[in-house]
């Protein structure tokens, strides 16, 4: 079946390209959106016919750019061109678009001859889903069509579930994203959760990795949006994120996990996850929003771990403005000044609240105190509790004694308190060698190995590429056999000759 279809399409394409060649005196540098959609459809068909998801991925990569160029007419033309005249699917798809633009058709006279070859059969269902995806995105551009988008999204999802085609998976993953966006814009994100959960179960049963990855992220996002950290954590522990998921999905997943771990005070795990998210994220210029959001969390988690983030981070063109408030917090923590910390916190409270980092930053208070004590212990060999209290703006000497005691127990500083004299004696610094050094090395080596393994995993092996090699190897073996035969046969006749020739 598919073969026949394919041939027809090939022919159609050939004819089209011939015609185009004839006509193509003025080559239009950027293809019109309609043409782009059509070429994308052709790519999807090829992907389905050759079972090579790479083509579909190529189509999806242009989605973001294409989305901005869509309007009623572009979509209408594309649908008109792709489907045969009296196709039911075409009617269904067109019904989602307003009728008004049909009048414009008369202006399109010179575009019409190109599709003179009548298309006789419907293209593969993947194309329909793709067009539906474009339609949803288009309907989401204006607020008045949100209810329509919601309806279309629900219908599309139902259709995908019924079709159950593996070649549709990458498209399906994107459709789910559009579905979430629809629900969110319509303000009913919580209502979509049962739908996602059910679909997630189906996807994992069907080993539909792309969709599963997308859905897990959708669910996590929905949970975190409503601050349901418990449920999110349970979802993470009960599901396994498919290893073959795309980088973008992985980046999101790591970001969400980082967030959860951070709330649970598991800062080192959060740090590792956020770092992965940064590494897997698309380049900062392409997706500045994600890049900024991850870095905001990353800065806070570094501070909570007692590290000071790199200064260069705050000079990054994409981050500089977004991280302004965070930079001031970093400065306050670095100098260990509680008063500066408090003023910065209240100054940027609205910003942190919007980023959902306020409660996390409030936790930094104790880090500020610790840094302050650490600085004092480094610069004084003996300091009275009264002075500590004044320098760190603590409320009472009594507090200072407890706080210093805790700092000593937690290993922040080396030293001891002499209660009778009311001062703190600071011990010498630890020598730089010991088991800790080995631990630091071990951490770094672990990090490098992890990086290596991740990059090995990220390598792509195109399907069937080994066939060529196999064929080559087969040929070599054949030749060798012949050679051996010749040697055998030749060996009987003549002993000296074959050696020279054969090798």
């Amino acid at each position: 079946m598919t073969d026949v279809e394919m041939k027809q399409d090939d022919k159609a394409e050939d004819k089209k390209s011939q015609e185009e060649k004839e006509k193509a005196t003025p080559p239009p540098p950027p293809p019109s959106p309609t043409a782009e959609i059509k070429s994308n459809i052709a790519l999807i068909e090829r992907a389905v016919a050759t079972i090579e998801p790479r083509y579909t991925l190529r189509v999806l990569r242009t989605l973001t750019a294409l989305r901005k160029k869509l309007d009623d007419k572009v979509l209408q033309d594309a649908i008109e061109d792709v489907y045969p005249k009296d196709s039911a699917v075409k009617k269904a798809l067109l019904s989602w678009l307003p009728e008004a633009s049909a009048v414009d058709h008369s202006m399109d006279v010179d575009a019409a001859p190109t599709q003179s070859t009548p298309i006789t059969s419907d293209p593969v269902p993947e194309c329909e889903i793709y067009l539906r995806l474009l339609l949803i995105h288009h309907l989401l551009t204006s607020q008045s069509t949100y209810p329509k988008a919601l309806e279309l999204a629900q219908e599309t999802v139902a259709k995908m579930q019924v079709l159950n085609r593996r070649s549709m998976d990458p498209l399906a993953a994107r459709v789910w994203y559009a579905v979430e966006r629809t629900y969110e814009l319509a303000g009913e994100l919580a209502d979509a959760r049962p739908l996602f959960l059910a679909a997630q179960r189906t996807a994992s049963l069907r080993h539909d990795d792309e969709t599963q990855a997308s859905l897990i992220n959708r669910l996590l996002r929905s949970y975190l949006h409503y601050s349901l950290y418990d449920q999110a954590d349970k979802l993470v522990s009960k599901t396994t994120f498919p290893a073959s998921a795309s980088n973008a999905q992985y980046a999101r997943y790591h970001y969400f996990i980082g967030r959860i771990k951070m709330v649970q005070l598991n800062y080192s795990a959060a740090h590792a996850n956020l770092q992965q998210a940064i590494r897997r994220a698309p380049p900062p210029k392409v997706a500045p929003g994600f890049y900024q959001a991850v870095h905001k969390l990353f800065v806070v988690v570094e501070l909570l771990m007692g590290d000071i983030p790199d200064r260069a981070l705050f000079r990054h063109p994409v981050l500089e403005k977004a991280l302004e408030g965070y930079f001031e917090i970093v400065k306050a923590v670095r100098t260990g000044s509680l008063s500066q910390f408090q003023t910065t916190l209240s100054k940027h409270a609205a910003l942190f609240e919007a980023d959902k980092t306020y409660t996390l930053i409030v936790r930094l208070r104790q880090n500020v105190i610790k840094t302050g004590i650490r600085r004092l212990s480094l610069s004084y060999s003996r300091i009275s509790l009264r002075d500590i209290c004044v320098k760190l703006h603590l409320d009472s000497e009594e507090d200072a004694e407890y706080i210093v005691g805790k700092a000593i127990r937690d290993g922040v500083i080396e030293g001891r308190i002499v209660h009778e004299k009311g001062w703190m004696e600071c011990g010498g610094q630890k020598s730089g060698y010991g088991p800790e050094v080995a631990e630091v090395f071990q951490r770094r080596i672990g990090y490098c190995l992890e990086l290596h393994n991740q990059s090995v995993k990220a390598m792509r092996y195109p399907l069937n590429a080994h066939r060529k090699e196999l064929a080559a190897a087969e040929g070599a073996r054949e030749r060798e056999k012949e050679l051996a035969k010749e040697i055998q046969e030749g060996g009987d006749l003549d002993d000296d000759e074959p050696l020279g020739d054969g090798f």
Binding site: S227, L228, Y229, D230, D233, V263, Q264, L265, N266, A349, F352, E353, Y358, T359, V362, R363, R365, Q366, I369, L394, D395, S396, E398, D399, E401, Y402, I403, V404, G405, K406, A407, I408, R409, G415, R416, I417, V418, H419, E420, P435, A438, Q442, I445, L449, H452, N453
Partner: protein
């Protein structure tokens, strides 16, 4: 809701509001009411339930939560709290807000704090339906939040002073266990931070009023008390641990070998 259930509910309210409340009777009535609620399908609310009935069900569970704290039955409080969560989170928008919601949420936070479940404490805090800057204006929530902050900083005296400022009577039931947690914290700090400490000062630091209490506590923590000089000496634990962590080294070397093998 049947009239029988309603009459038991009135009985329960009376028993709970009596001073001092009749905890035993409350317990019996609550058991009966819970069975009644299950029969009426209200314990885990179903969609389409009568809102007035749901309010009554929520009231019953709230009384149950308070009563179990008064009876110092923490696991039972835990159960009531998780049952109440459905009412607070999922039906929060359709039911009229309960005046007891934040006291109970705050009690739950304190409970997590006294059990030293700091991670859960923060997760719960994060999922409160409150704006972060309005936390400080809500007395029921700000109390546990401040306690946690002081505990983490080490401002133990502030915790001690705040124990009397509980926003609701039930909060005091946690004070004792909280004080136990603090004393142990302080004691471990003292062990690390002091070489020796006069008995009198140790007592003030640990908030003990009599020496005998202190001596008992010192015995539990195995401190050396010199009654003649009136001092406590702390023995340094693990002063020099120059031991080589053999197992760790071996396991990491093996891991490196395996990774190298994979690369080459």
């Amino acid at each position: 809701m049947s009239s029988q259930l309603a009459s038991i509910y009135r009985d329960l309210k009376r028993a709970f509001e009596a001073r001092p409340s009749d905890l035993k009777k409350c317990g019996q009535l609550l058991a009966k009411l819970k069975v009644g609620l299950i029969e009426a399908g209200l314990l885990v609310p179903q969609p389409g339930a009568n809102l007035d009935d749901l309010v009554v069900a929520r009231d019953i569970l709230e009384i149950g939560a308070f009563a179990s704290i008064r009876a110092k039955d923490i696991p039972s409080f835990d159960r009531y709290f998780s049952q109440l969560q459905t009412f607070y989170n999922d039906y929060g928008s359709s039911l009229p807000p309960s005046p007891n919601e934040y006291p109970i949420r705050g009690l739950n936070l304190i409970r997590l704090l006294t059990q030293n479940r700091i991670a859960d404490f923060h997760t719960t805090l994060e999922s409160l339906p409150l704006r972060a800057d309005s936390i400080s204006s809500n007395p029921y929530i700000s109390h546990p939040v401040n306690l946690e902050r002081w505990l983490m900083e080490g401002s133990y005296s502030k915790v001690w002073n705040a124990r009397e400022e509980a926003p609701k009577e039930e909060y005091r039931f946690f004070v004792d266990s909280l004080m136990g947690t603090i004393r142990n914290e302080i004691a471990s700090c003292e062990e690390a931070a002091y070489a020796s400490l006069p008995l009198k000062d140790a007592a003030t630091l640990l908030f003990f009023t009599t020496q005998s209490e202190l001596l008992k506590f010192a015995q539990e923590r195995k401190w050396q008390v010199n009654l003649v000089a009136g001092t406590i000496t702390f023995t340094k634990k693990g002063e020099e641990r120059a031991e080589i962590p053999k197992e760790k080294l071996i396991s990491s070397s093996l891991a490196y070998a395996r990774e190298l093998e994979m690369i080459v």
